[in-house]
Symmetry: C2
Subunit: 670 residues, 2 copies
């Protein structure tokens, strides 16, 4: 639905289909079998000047088209931003950083609710249609996760158990990518590599099944309109040659550099938005960016068209006599080399002008994406990244092609099968797209799988892998975090990164609360009154309290949650006779013998008798490992059985930040 | 090297290349551009009867070929079995169950050593050449792991740290599959899904890099001899139609049934071998099976050829006028249907005879594989499984094709593009191969990725996924374990399966040692003499001992390993003056004040002050989870800080077996 809606509304900026206004241009022109790329050749489809009785070409109609284009864009963008602002503030952005955080165990209420689902879907259609430099693929993951979350409430086994629900969310994320790109396996791997925190094998094949069904339903509805059910299906009939690995790795390096530059620039702008007055006018910001985008992008045919269409143009190969694609304006001629006649291609004028336009497009799209990602509309990053990479790749590809054309006798060309043009610029576009997406997100395996599911290019695994690796290495060398991790840090979400090793030598004793000279708030198992406990609850704000044998002998008995304590004491006071403020609270199974006061309150039922403990001498490396792998919220620190303190997830996060020389106070919690 | 050697020796059974004896048949015939499949048409290659001056065809030469074939097979098999028996008993089998066990934390000394590497490589070439029903792909994982293990000793950081070494082994397993199938991504996923126990994201992209290099080197040497660097590269130009999902899922179900039948039959035979006299004559067994295989397989052309070649034949599509492939004996004719002329194919006599031969081949290969896998020669299962599935799939495919030919007007055929033959039997062979391999190994995602890396069929993800899921479900319903897990259980390796959830309600107190009425062997921190400790070491066989405050106050101080204790006491007695049998062993930092006896022995340095502990009330579900995720060998059980007992990995494994109503005494340890 999002695909169909966005496609219809995008075309609405240009014109309408009078026989059936609910058709987009492709559907409108389909009966006449006219290509989408041959603008102006479909007579059924009417542009806005034609609707107003003007001709299609000329300066007047051009200006009218221009104005209508910008006005529609502003309408869509304002609708999208207002809907998000009014009904579902969580619907903005791609949602992947937040879903990563949720899957690591943090709960953001309403983030995956039905309002978010509805507004995100509608807002996504609108913001894509507004021609903003954003993709609809990332938010699909959020939409799918919302559906997963809402659906899980149908089955209490999953809806009430946060851990089980997270398994559903992992599978939903896989399904989201599966439908976004028509890439089921890439989706599962994306969920594994990028989104999920803890991904047991059981979840792997459940996600696999979920992605399979998603791909199957997608194929039944075939929104991409071609029988191959791959978004950018291309088929190159030439294998790559060894020499080409050099430009491929170069593309990978450039991808890493561009990705890192993008992350840093985008973060700088988002930080500026966050701490300046700009953050208070999100709708105005969206309108302004839309206006600028519309005005700048309309004149250049490459920036005017949908980003998907442009990517398709960039990755496709040039067949002889191809006239519609400006990137295929070659003069073909046969030359004699040694004793064989080979066909070579000399670039025509269309190529040169296209290259200049592409470079302009690259700069514009890069700048616009930096300002767009992070605005308060639903916005994904995949398609803009792929586009930037495809432009870069195509330009490099044409360069290598012309190099091979100019020097056909160099050994590394002649060594291979020296028939016709051995360089396919479209393949460079695919590799470049993978490189920039890799630089932005730091994916590896999932990236390669998504790319070859997207393009059908299973023969080109090695080039794609080489570019992905180079991109990741260069990116990691220039800046540690991918865009999602950077946004998690920017927003201060309590996310304990499972990719990085904790390599310091601190001990649990250095991190635990309380520090020296402070007292530890504990509850004794059989000597505190209801009043004592209530005072403790009032004076402190901890989520839970350790229960010990006695103040003198602080041997650990168990752990009790603040929520349970509040509830149990409240209920007991109301419902059980004889319970007063001076009743002793008892966590043991036996009542103390010399019980002189009022009836004691037995709370053994709410006591967690199996809290996870570590000793004070445990290296923090082990503690961090336990927090990650066991998904702990806190652990108790003991020495020779005696309770010394508590380490919460917040303490761990602060400590990790501190050790990395970052400000520990940027971590939000609750 | 293994590929080239095996290919040369396999051809040696049939004949030799007189101009260059080190050429295999393909290389020998290559200059004449003669196909490998057209047996008898290459004049450079000489069969054995020709070498002896006889003609190529006729009864006499046939019998001579037959005898030479069997004799060579016996020679290769006896060499392989003897080498394994004499030099490296660990080189037998596929090695994957053992590598899984090693990666779960168990140490098998010498299993990944240089002798195993050498003998496994040579033995693998020999046993493949002997024509036994086994593949060389599984053992490649073992060979790669050996290389990884040997190589890790070059870098002390990896060689001396078992956990780091396991990361290398995970990557090596990925590289093994990557070179075995030319499937780098499939290799990484195989390592993740099937082999590795703990697979952090860091290992993911390191494995990815390793597999990339492996694939790259493989492509440079191109052992498969075709430019696409995929083993069974096929290109079908027809998309699949919806109706076909029914036969695809049927293939999946059959794959699950066949896989489970194979596992059960193979296990039954392996158990028989293990507990009967047969196990004492491994070389004789190999020779007998080779003799039977040779005698049975020679007459049938499908069983005589290499399994790889047969699979290629089964998955390839029939082009018009294809005469060399007996599976393509169709009569082509044009018929008029409605208002369009379509080409249909009627099966010729070659098809019918081929189907009967294929059925025979299926039964023979299934039976032979059951007896072969588990013999004391290097032997893999991938290729035999793929072959069984491809045969099944091709037969079903021809059936569906003929059904479509007989009833071309049924709605589910006419609804789709009704041009020529819409059913591709080769695709059924691919799907069938995936189904049986899935049924045998229970892989899902990695299976689909390997299959489409193998065949280049990226368009057929949904059919492959559907078959893989159906196969896994049916397989899991019929028998819980895949072949590798079944062999782990058969051999009693201490492997704590991370795929299965522990869903019982037992507590740590129920599992810990000692049971009631037994005493716990502990060391006190400052009151036992050297003699006491040495007696304890003599009387008990534990790998380690908890250290407590005192016998009366069993508060846990730490854990000390038997090995460290032995070493420290031995060294102290030899090297430190004043240490005698009556010296007090002290684990605290302060010496007790009233020290009247001889100089105390301070052992605080060898004390692990941070043992992992759980309380006696901890559910075993949590304990099992901690063992899996933290890779524990033991955990200490406390109650209110007091030490109650110990749970070792063996206790956990026994308990899991007991809960699953299996014999807990089948678990081996050490």
């Amino acid at each position: 639905m999002v695909d169909i809606g966005a496609s219809w509304m995008s075309d609405l900026k240009h014109g309408i289909c009078p026989p059936a206004f609910w058709f987009n241009r492709e559907q409108c022109c389909y009966p006449a079998k006219q290509s989408v790329f041959e603008e102006g050749n479909c007579s059924t489809w009417k542009t806005w000047p034609e609707i107003f009785g003007l001709s299609r070409n000329g300066t007047g109609p051009y200006i009218i088209s221009y104005i209508w284009y910008v006005l529609w864009a502003l309408l869509f963008a304002s609708l999208s931003a207002s809907l998000v602002r009014m009904f579902a503030p969580y619907a903005c952005g791609s949602g992947i950083p937040e879903i990563k955080t949720i899957l690591s165990g943090f709960i953001i209420r309403g983030y995956l609710g039905k309002w978010t689902l509805l507004i995100k879907s509608v807002g996504l259609m609108l913001s894509v249609s507004a021609g903003l430099t954003l993709g609809k693929e990332g938010p699909m993951v959020h939409i799918a996760s919302c559906i997963g979350n809402i659906f899980s409430h149908v089955f209490p086994k999953y809806g009430r158990n946060e851990a089980k629900k997270r398994e559903i969310l992992s599978a939903a994320a896989a399904a989201g990518v599966s439908v976004a790109f028509g890439a089921p396996i890439g989706g599962v791997l994306f969920s594994l590599e990028e989104v999920s925190y803890y991904f047991p094998l059981k979840t792997l094949w459940r996600s696999f099944f979920c992605a399979l069904i998603a791909a199957f339903v997608l194929r039944s509805l075939t929104p991409f309109g071609n029988e191959h059910s791959v978004l950018f299906f291309v088929e190159y009939n030439k294998p790559w040659i060894f020499f080409e690995l050099i430009p491929f790795v170069f593309l990978g390096i450039m991808g890493g550099v561009i990705g890192t530059f993008f992350i840093k620039a985008n973060l700088w702008w988002c930080r500026y938005r966050k701490f300046s007055k700009l953050g208070q006018y999100p709708v105005m910001e969206v309108l302004f960016v839309t206006l600028v985008t519309g005005i700048i992008c309309y004149p250049n045919p490459f920036t005017r068209m949908n980003m998907n269409e442009l990517i398709f143009l960039l990755v496709s190969k040039c067949s002889p006599g191809d006239v519609t694609n400006p990137l295929c304006d070659y003069k073909r001629m046969n030359i004699t080399m040694g004793n064989s006649v080979i066909e070579v291609t000399e670039p025509g004028p269309g190529i040169y002008s296209s290259i200049w336009l592409l470079m302009l497009t690259f700069i514009l799209k890069l700048a616009l994406t930096i300002f767009t990602f992070g605005m308060k509309v639903p916005a994904g990053l995949f398609i803009p990244s792929l586009l930037l990479g495809a432009i870069m790749g195509r330009i490099v590809g044409i360069g290598v092609e012309q190099f091979a054309y100019s020097y056909p006798n160099i050994w590394f060309f002649t060594g291979e099968c020296a028939d016709s043009n051995l360089i396919t610029p479209g393949l460079y576009a695919v590799v470049g797209a993978a490189a920039v997406l890799g630089g932005v997100t730091r994916m590896t395996v999932s990236l390669v799988v998504i790319m070859f599911e997207l393009t059908g290019g299973v023969r080109y695994i090695v080039p794609l892998m080489a570019a992905a690796m180079a991109s990741k290495w260069v990116g990691d060398a220039l800046g540690r975090q991918g865009i999602y991790d950077a946004h998690i840090a920017l927003n201060g979400y309590p996310f304990l990164d499972s990719k990085e090793e904790f390599a310091h030598t601190t001990l649990a004793a250095d991190v635990m609360q309380p520090k020296r000279n402070e007292t530890l708030n504990v509850i004794t198992q059989d000597s505190m009154t209801v009043d004592d406990v209530e005072n403790l609850l009032k004076e402190t704000e901890h989520n839970g309290y350790p229960v010990v044998v006695s103040r003198e002998n602080q041997y650990l008995v168990g752990f009790v949650l603040r929520r349970d304590l509040n509830l149990a004491i409240g209920n007991a006071k109301r419902l059980i006779e004889g319970i007063s403020s001076s009743s002793i609270v008892i966590f043991t199974s036996t009542t103390p013998t010399q019980n002189l006061g009022p009836q004691p309150l037995k709370l053994k039922k709410i006591l967690d008798m199996a809290p996870i403990t570590v000793t004070d001498q445990t290296p923090m490396e082990t503690v961090v490992d336990m927090f990650r792998k066991l998904g702990l919220r806190q652990t108790l620190v003991t020495h020779n059985g005696r309770l010394l303190g508590v380490i919460t997830k917040k303490d761990v996060l602060r400590h990790v930040k501190q050790m990395d020389n970052e400000d520990p106070n940027t971590v939000l919690f609750n």
